[in-house]
């Protein structure tokens, strides 16, 4: 805890990306990315592989030269600086520990490059190892450490020279589930303790939602949406964002004359939308609702006025432990999933006729779907 006095004095700085592009020949890896991380913020770049998030990170670190655009750190342009002059900490996906050096020597490496004295190096390295909970393994070589411990050494090495910005490239990808959850908490703790700016890359939406102050969703080299976890999860702005961040039901709808009301395509059932919704131009649109916002109840029961409802038949009930998923066929082309938390199950079973209801406020109106999200043949 008192390590904070030594390590955390320097607080985070702002990072700004302006109109960042990266092309490899004809292939556009990153396209006009504008992004700002506030001082001390935990910003996550989330997206599938190949979406440009790692390329963006590498441009910030200096390993990849942008085709155009600007990168500013603490108000100063850093585009022209080589990586070793940027003073940015980075934790690599596969740790990138030096195998011929002990944990101590690994962590001391950045300090030696900065010509620190031997006594100071010793103090600060041990302090950093202590911070990540590895004070007792200073003289182990990387191959003698477990995956989680290697991860901690990499983290200590990235923060020991007190960078004001720390980049992390899927640092937990190689760990198993339980260890990953534990390390998520550790990383959050260190973020709070150091107070520096974190830019974190991951393809795991759970990780992104749990850890971040804000999330930037990448797709095909572009940012689809930036916002807090609940911004992007509850109020996605694109179909991609909605579907990448978790399970979602989508309904094709058509516009009506009445504002705030659409009809389900092919069914002519009205769907109430949140009051401030603007129907987009064009004939069709998609309404997205999260499975945990839907309620299933036996068909025919009275329902509260003002809610939306669709009638269907339960096709399958999947037990998930902490919850269950009820898959309902509304029509041959409309399937909805309802997620019910354990202990709050509705009394419906496979084969039952059910009414699916939800509050208008839980609908999100998005652009029309153009291509199917999951093509099973490609799996």
């Amino acid at each position: 805890m008192d390590s904070r006095l030594h390590m955390g004095i320097r607080s985070g700085v702002a990072l700004e990306l302006e109109a960042l592009h990266k092309r490899y020949g004809d292939y556009v890896a990153v396209e006009s990315v504008d992004l700002r991380a506030d001082p001390g913020e935990f910003l996550t770049l989330l997206g599938p592989s190949g979406s440009g998030k790692t390329t963006t990170l590498n441009m910030i670190a200096g390993f990849v030269t942008p085709s155009s655009g600007r990168i500013q750190l603490d108000g100063g342009k850093i585009d022209h600086l080589p990586p070793h002059k940027r003073n940015i900490g980075m934790v690599f996906q596969h740790y990138a520990l030096f195998p011929h050096m002990t944990a101590f020597e690994n962590v001391a490496f950045p300090l030696k490059q900065r010509k620190c004295g031997g006594a100071e190096i010793r103090t600060r390295v041990l302090e950093a190892l202590e911070l990540v909970g590895l004070g007792d393994r200073a003289h182990s070589y990387p191959r003698q450490l477990s995956g989680g411990q290697q991860q901690r050494v990499a983290l200590a090495r990235a923060i020991v020279f007190r960078p004001s910005l720390l980049l992390m490239d899927e640092p937990l990808g190689a760990l198993d589930r339980q260890l990953r959850e534990h390390m998520q908490m550790e990383i959050k703790r260190i973020h709070v303790e150091l107070g520096i700016t974190f830019v974190y890359v991951t393809h795991d939406q759970e990780e992104a939602l749990t850890m971040s102050d804000r999330v930037a969703i990448f797709n095909n080299g572009r940012i689809e949406q930036v916002g807090t976890a609940s911004d992007v999860y509850d109020r996605p702005r694109t179909l991609f964002a909605a579907e990448f961040l978790g399970e979602s039901n989508s309904l094709s709808v058509a516009r009506t004359c009445q504002p705030g009301i659409a009809v389900v395509a092919g069914l002519d059932v009205p769907v109430r939308l949140p009051e401030d919704t603007q129907m987009p131009a064009g004939d069709g649109a998609t309404v997205v609702i999260r499975p945990e916002r839907l309620r299933a109840m036996p068909a025919g029961l009275e329902r509260s006025p003002g809610t939306n409802a669709l009638r269907g038949v339960v096709q399958r009930v999947v037990y998930l432990g902490s919850a269950r998923r009820v898959d309902v066929e509304v029509s041959p082309w409309i399937h909805l999933s309802v997620r019910e938390q354990s202990g709050m199950w509705s009394p419906v079973q496979k084969g039952d006729a059910v009414d699916i209801g939800w509050h208008p406020g839980d609908s999100v109106l998005l652009e029309q779907r153009t291509a199917p999200a999951i093509v099973t043949g490609a799996a």
Binding site: H84, H94, A96, F98
Partner: protein
Amino acid sequence: MALLAPVGLFLLAFFAYPMAKILALSFSSEASGLSLENYVWFFETSVNIKVLLRTFTTAMIVTLVCVLVGYPYAYLMTVVGTRWRALLLILALIPFWTSLMTRNLAWLALLQPSSTIATITRKLGFGELQLLGTVAGVVVAMSQILLPFMVLPMYATLRNIDRRLLAAAEGLGARPSVAFVRVYLPLSAPGVVAGSLLVFVLSLGFYLTPAIIGSPQNSLLSQLIVTQVSRVLNWGHAGAMAMVLLLVTVVLIWLASLATRRNAALTSSGERS
């Protein structure tokens, strides 16, 4: 497994028996059964010691030349694209494909006083560069012939070094040159040691190149062994010489393996996954 045991034994005999025979020869003498007289002869004859030292010096210089030429070559192979890499690999392997004889012949031709190389050095004002019949000529020819044995183990090691470690070092504040020296070089050591050992040991036993390109005045140990067998017909002397060469070689290998064992074990986790 049970079936393989006899095969293993047969092979063991196949490899070990010839060596045992030489060992026996070296301790035999014309008069009595077992004797040390061949070894006494070896160390009492001053020309033997001189040739032994010359053999080791030559081998060391050849090894050094191969390291200096082979390292950049192997490094180049790891950074170029697949097409260039294939070309470089083929070039490095050509010496394997062309017979030893052909290559020795090539060097003999190249090193003639009337050859292009000699002409160039003369024109450049280096004077008469005498290569044929000298140790220098032997070193040049042996280095080229043995280079593949240096390049291949080196390349095998360099190829497995994770280049992201260099990026990591730079991200941590090291200039590219410092990153190379502090990270890449230490990780490449096992390949350098393996290649050097191979080239050194192979140089020690070279016969053909020194016989063709060198001169009898600066012959190496292999030539002395051949002389003992084919002219003097003294098997015991030849055996003792071979055993001395073998013993020194084994000791050197053992020392080298001691020095690198720790290093090699540590490096294994530095390989790209």
